[in-house]
C-alpha cells in the first residue's frame, strides 16, 4: 500500500470564519474585490485593499507563508511587466537616466500598480481555494450556473465531471507510481537521453494507465447506474446551501470596500 497522500488543490482544512462563509458568497466577494481593485486610482485605495486582504487572511487562519508561496508562480510574469513598465513609460518626472534607459516617476507608479493588482488578485483567489474544499467549490459552481441551464449550460454535468476528476486524481497518481515502479523492475529506464528515446520510454506507463482509466470509467459508470444515477432527473441534494448571517455580513464588508474605493477616487478628484 502506498502512503502517498496527494493534496488536491490547496485546501487548508481548519475551521475559521472565512471557511464558514458560503462558497457562493466567497466567489461573489472575490469578484467584488477584483472589480474594486481595478477601480483603485490612488495610494489610499491600495492601502484599503491591502488592509481588507490582510484581515481576511488573518481571519482565515491560513499561514501567511502559504499565501506567499502561492505568489511564487506569478513572480516571473510580475517582474517581467514591472521591468517593461519601469523603463518604457517615459512621461513624468525623470529620476534616473542612462543612454536610452529612462526611469520616470510615472513608470514607478505604473509598476507599483501592476504589482499590487496582480499580487492582490492572486492572493485573494488563493484565499478562496485555501478556505473552500474542491467539493464545496463544485457545489457552488453548480448552483451559480443553475440559472443558465435553460439556455443549455449543463450545470449538473459540469459539476459531476469535476467531482469525479477530483476524486480520481489521487487514485490515478498512485497508479502511475505503481506502474512506473513495476516497469522499472522490468528494467525500464526513464532517465534515457534524447526526447524521442524518453517519449518512447513512457509508452509502458501510458498504455497501462489508459487501459486502467478506461476500465475504471466503465466500472464507475456501472456502479453509478446501479445506484440509480440518471443525471439530474429527480435528484436531490444532501447539503442545501443556505445564506446565513455571516454571509450577509461578509457581503456588507464587500460592498463597504467597493464604496470606500469609489469614495477615495471621488475625494481625490475634487
Amino acid at each position: 500500500m502506498f502512503f502517498l497522500k496527494v493534496t488536491i488543490g490547496q485546501y487548508y482544512p481548519v475551521d475559521s470564519v472565512i471557511h464558514r462563509i458560503d462558497p457562493r458568497m466567497k466567489i461573489l466577494l472575490l469578484i467584488l474585490f477584483v472589480v474594486g481593485l481595478f477601480f483603485v486610482e490612488n495610494l489610499f485605495g491600495y492601502i484599503v485593499s491591502a488592509l481588507v486582504l490582510g484581515f481576511t487572511i488573518k481571519f482565515s487562519k491560513v499561514p501567511f507563508i502559504f499565501i506567499l508561496r502561492g505568489l511564487k508562480g506569478f513572480l516571473f510574469i510580475v517582474s517581467f511587466t514591472v521591468i517593461i513598465n519601469m523603463f518604457f513609460v517615459d512621461s513624468g518626472y525623470v529620476i534616473f537616466e542612462y543612454s536610452f534607459f529612462k526611469l520616470t516617476l510615472d513608470g514607478v507608479w505604473f509598476s507599483f500598480q501592476m504589482i499590487c493588482r496582480l499580487g492582490f488578485l492572486t492572493a485573494a483567489s488563493s484565499v478562496l481555494t485555501f478556505t473552500t474544499s474542491p467539493i464545496q467549490l463544485t457545489h457552488a459552481i453548480e448552483r451559480i450556473l443553475k440559472p443558465f441551464v435553460r439556455i443549455g449550460v449543463p450545470a449538473h454535468d459540469i459539476a459531476m465531471m469535476m467531482t469525479i476528476a477530483i476524486r480520481f486524481i489521487p487514485t490515478l497518481t498512485e497508479e502511475v507510481e505503481k506502474i512506473k515502479k513495476a516497469q522499472m523492475a522490468r528494467g525500464a529506464d526513464f532517465e534515457g537521453k534524447g526526447i524521442k528515446k524518453r517519449a518512447k520510454a513512457f509508452i509502458p506507463i501510458l498504455v497501462p494507465l489508459f487501459v486502467s482509466a478506461f476500465r475504471r470509467a466503465d466500472e464507475l459508470a456501472m456502479a453509478m447506474e446501479a445506484r440509480c444515477y440518471r443525471g439530474d432527473i429527480g435528484r436531490t441534494s444532501m447539503r442545501k446551501l443556505r445564506f446565513k448571517v455571516i454571509d450577509y455580513l461578509s457581503l456588507c464588508v464587500g460592498i463597504a470596500f467597493l464604496c470606500s474605493i469609489l469614495y477615495l477616487n471621488y475625494s481625490e478628484r475634487t
Partner: protein, 584 residues
C-alpha cells in the same frame, strides 16, 4: 410470492463491430438460467472465472436487459424499460473493486449519492447517511477523503452507500475478493447482520467456500448455466462434481470425504467444521504420539540480508509516515520465504527495498554479501538479480501480444533478441502458457492466464531471486492453485529463491520454508510454520488468521481432546486421523 424469479434467462453481449464477432462472443454469457430467491434469503453464487455469474448478477438489478426469458423482481418485469429504476431501487449491488465505485471526494457525500439520485429530501438523507455509516462502523470517518482509507474501509463505505438507499436485496459481486482477511471478515459480519437482523435478501457471489457455507442456498454456475443448486449440504455432497467445476471443497467436508475413502464410517453429508468435530468426538481418538514428519530443508547460504532497515514516506512533510521500523532478516538461497501481514503492514514497501526500487532511510540491504547501495555496486544490476512481480501484474501489459510484452524485461536486461525469445518461451512453458496463446492480446486471456503470463515476463529475465507481491489476489480457486504450483516449480526446476507476499496463512503454510510476519512496519515473528504458530496470540493481533485445518484442531482441543496444533493442511490432517481414529 417469490422476491426474485428467473425463468430460462439468456443474455449475450451486444457485438461491437467486426472484431468481436467471433464465435466466442456471440455465445450466450448467461444461457438459460432458472433462479429464485425468497425475501430475506441468503443465497451464494459460485463458479470459476468466466462462468457467467457476474453477468447474471447484473441482470438481476437491471444493469443488463435479458435477451430472452423472464425476470421478475417482486412482480416487476425486468424486460419492461419503465421498471428499470424501481428494480434498481429494490436491488442494490456492491462491486469487486472498492476504488471504482466511490464517486465523491468525502465519505458521507458518497454515501449520500444514491439517496440523492432517488430524490429523498435533504433532512432524511442526512439521517439515512448517518445510520448507514453506523451500520458499517464507519461513522468516525464520515468527513474523510476516500483515497485515504484502506481497501476494506472503502468497501464498507460502498456498502453504506447501498444501505442508505434502503434496498430489499443486496448483491455482493465478489465484494470481498480484493480485501485482506480482516477486511473480508468485517464485510461478512455486516452481510450476516443485515440478513439476519434486517431481513435483507443477500445474493453473495464469491470464490471463498467458507463464505458459501453461511448461505441458505447455493447456486453453482458453469458456462452460463446453473450446474448445481440446493442447500450448502446438497451442493457440497457432490465432491467430484465440485472439483470438476473448478471449485474447492470446504475443509471439513474434504477431510470427512477423504477419511471415509480410507474405510471409516463417516457420514457423507459432513460439510461444516463442527459436524466433523462432533464425528471425531463421537468416534474417539487413540492415544498415539504424533511426531511430525521432518521434511524441513536446510538452507546454508544467505542471498539477501536485511539489516536494521527503516523507511519513512514523505519525510519532513505533513504526511510523514514510518512504513518500516528497524527491520532485519535473512533470505537463504533456494528457499521459499513468505512475507505475511495485513494491508498497510509495510510488506509491499519492504519487498521494494529488496531490489532497490526504494532506498531505505536507514539500514543496509546486502545481496550476496554486498551492499546494494554501496559505491561499488551498480543498482541497475540488482534489478536483474532480484525480479519483482507487482500486485495485479496483468495491469501492466502494454504490448499487443503477451509474447511481445514478455520480451520487454529480458531485452532491457541486455539479452540478445534470440536469447530473449528463448527465455520467454521457457518462462511461458514454466507457467503453463500454451504456444497457441503467444500471439494473443492480453485482453483475450482469462484472469488466471493473464496473471501467469505477466509473471512469466519477470521469470524471463532469469533473476536469481523472484519476489511476488500477492500473486494469487483476486483469482478463483483454480487460478490460485495453478500459481502456487508454479511457485514450487520455480524453486525446484529453475533453482530460484522465491519471496512471496501474502495475507493468507492458508496458502503460505503449505508452501513456505520460512515465514516473516509483519505488523505496523515491524517484524512480529520470523521462523518456520511451527515457530510462527507457537505464538498464536500475536497473530490474531496482527490480523492474521490460522489455516482452516488448524481451526478444526483448535476446536477439538477446546472440547478436551488432546491433539497437536502443528497440523496445517488437509493431507497432514488425514494422515493424522488415519492412524488414530477408532474404527466404529
Amino acid at each position: 410470492m417469490k422476491f426474485i424469479e428467473c425463468e430460462n434467462v439468456k443474455y449475450s453481449y451486444p457485438a461491437e463491430g467486426e472484431i468481436n464477432k467471433s464465435e466466442e462472443w456471440l455465445k450466450f454469457a448467461v444461457d438459460g438460467v432458472d433462479f429464485d430467491a425468497l425475501r430475506g434469503e441468503f443465497i451464494a453464487v459460485l463458479g470459476h472465472n468466466g462462468s457467467g455469474k457476474s453477468t447474471f448478477a447484473r441482470l438481476l438489478n437491471r444493469i443488463f436487459k435479458p435477451s430472452e426469458g423472464n425476470i421478475f423482481v417482486e412482480g416487476l418485469d425486468a424486460s419492461d424499460d419503465k421498471n428499470i429504476w424501481d428494480i434498481r431501487k429494490k436491488v442494490g449491488m456492491v462491486f469487486q473493486n472498492p476504488d471504482n465505485q466511490i464517486v465523491a471526494t468525502v465519505v458521507e457525500e458518497d454515501v449520500a449519492f444514491g439517496v440523492e439520485n432517488i430524490g429523498i429530501e435533504s433532512d432524511e438523507i442526512v439521517e439515512r447517511v448517518e445510520k448507514a455509516l453506523k451500520a458499517v462502523d464507519m461513522l468516525e470517518d464520515a468527513k474523510k477523503a476516500p483515497h485515504l482509507l484502506s481497501g476494506g474501509q472503502k468497501q464498507r463505505v460502498a456498502v453504506a452507500g447501498i444501505l442508505a438507499m434502503k434496498p430489499d436485496c443486496i448483491i455482493f459481486d465478489e465484494a470481498t475478493a480484493m480485501l485482506d482477511p480482516i477486511g473480508r471478515k468485517k464485510i461478512i459480519d455486516i452481510i450476516l447482520s443485515l440478513n439476519k437482523k434486517e431481513n435483507v435478501t443477500v445474493i453473495l457471489i464469491t470464490h471463498f467456500m467458507e463464505e458459501a457455507l453461511l448461505a441458505d442456498r447455493v447456486f453453482v454456475m458453469e458456462k452460463g448455466k446453473v450446474a448445481l443448486k440446493g442447500t450448502p449440504k446438497e451442493v457440497f455432497m457432490n465432491a467430484g462434481e465440485i472439483k470438476r467445476l473448478g471449485l474447492e471443497m470446504p475443509v471439513g467436508a474434504d477431510i470427512g470425504n477423504r477419511i471415509r475413502k480410507l474405510g471409516f464410517n463417516v457420514r457423507g453429508d459432513i460439510i461444516y467444521d463442527d459436524e466433523l468435530v462432533d464425528y471425531i468426538l463421537k468416534t474417539g481418538l487413540k492415544n498415539i504420539e504424533y511426531i511430525k514428519l521432518d521434511n524441513k530443508r536446510n538452507f546454508k547460504d544467505k542471498i539477501i540480508e536485511v539489516k536494521n532497515v527503516s523507511y519513512v514516506y514523505g519525510e519532513k512533510s505533513v504526511f510523514e509516515k514510518t512504513a518500516l521500523k528497524n527491520v532485519s532478516f535473512d533470505i537463504y538461497k533456494g528457499e521459499i520465504a513468505a512475507l505475511i501481514g495485513h494491508t498497510g503492514s509495510g510488506k509491499s514497501t519492504l519487498v521494494q527495498t529488496l531490489n532497490g526500487l526504494i532506498k531505505p532511510s536507514e539500514g543496509l540491504i546486502l545481496y550476496d554479501g554486498k551492499n546494494i547501495w554501496g559505491n561499488d555496486f551498480d543498482i541497475k544490476n540488482i534489478r536483474k538479480q532480484v525480479g519483482i512481480v507487482f500486485q495485479y501484474p496483468e495491469n501492466q501489459f502494454f504490448e499487443e501480444t503477451i509474447f511481445k510484452d514478455a520480451l520487454f524485461g529480458p531485452l532491457n536486461m541486455g539479452f540478445s533478441e534470440k536469447d530473449a525469445k528463448e527465455k520467454v518461451i521457457e518462462a511461458f512453458a514454466m507457467v503453463g502458457i500454451d504456444e497457441a496463446l503467444f500471439e494473443k492480446s492480453p485482453f483475450e486471456l482469462s484472469g488466471g492466464q493473464k496473471r501467469r503470463a505477466a509473471i512469466a515476463g519477470v521469470i524471463a529475465m532469469s533473476p536469481n531471486v523472484l519476489i511476488l507481491d500477492e500473486p494469487t489476489a483476486g483469482l478463483d480457486p483454480l487460478g490460485k492453485n495453478e500459481i502456487l504450483k508454479n511457485i514450487r516449480d520455480m524453486r525446484d526446476r529453475l533453482n530460484m529463491t522465491v519471496v512471496m507476499v501474502s495475507h493468507s496463512m492458508e496458502e503460505v503454510c503449505g508452501i513456505a520454508d520460512s515465514i516473516i510476519v509483519m505488523s505496523d512496519g515491524e517484524i512480529l515473528i520470523c521462523g518456520d510454520c511451527d515457530e510462527v504458530f507457537s505464538k498464536n496470540a500475536f497473530l490474531e493481533k496482527a490480523g492474521i488468521y490460522p489455516p482452516n485445518v488448524n481451526v478444526i484442531f483448535k476446536k477439538l482441543i477446546d472440547k478436551g481432546v488432546s491433539v497437536p496444533l502443528n497440523i496445517y493442511n488437509v493431507d497432514e490432517a488425514v494422515e493424522f486421523f488415519k492412524e488414530r481414529l477408532c474404527s466404529s
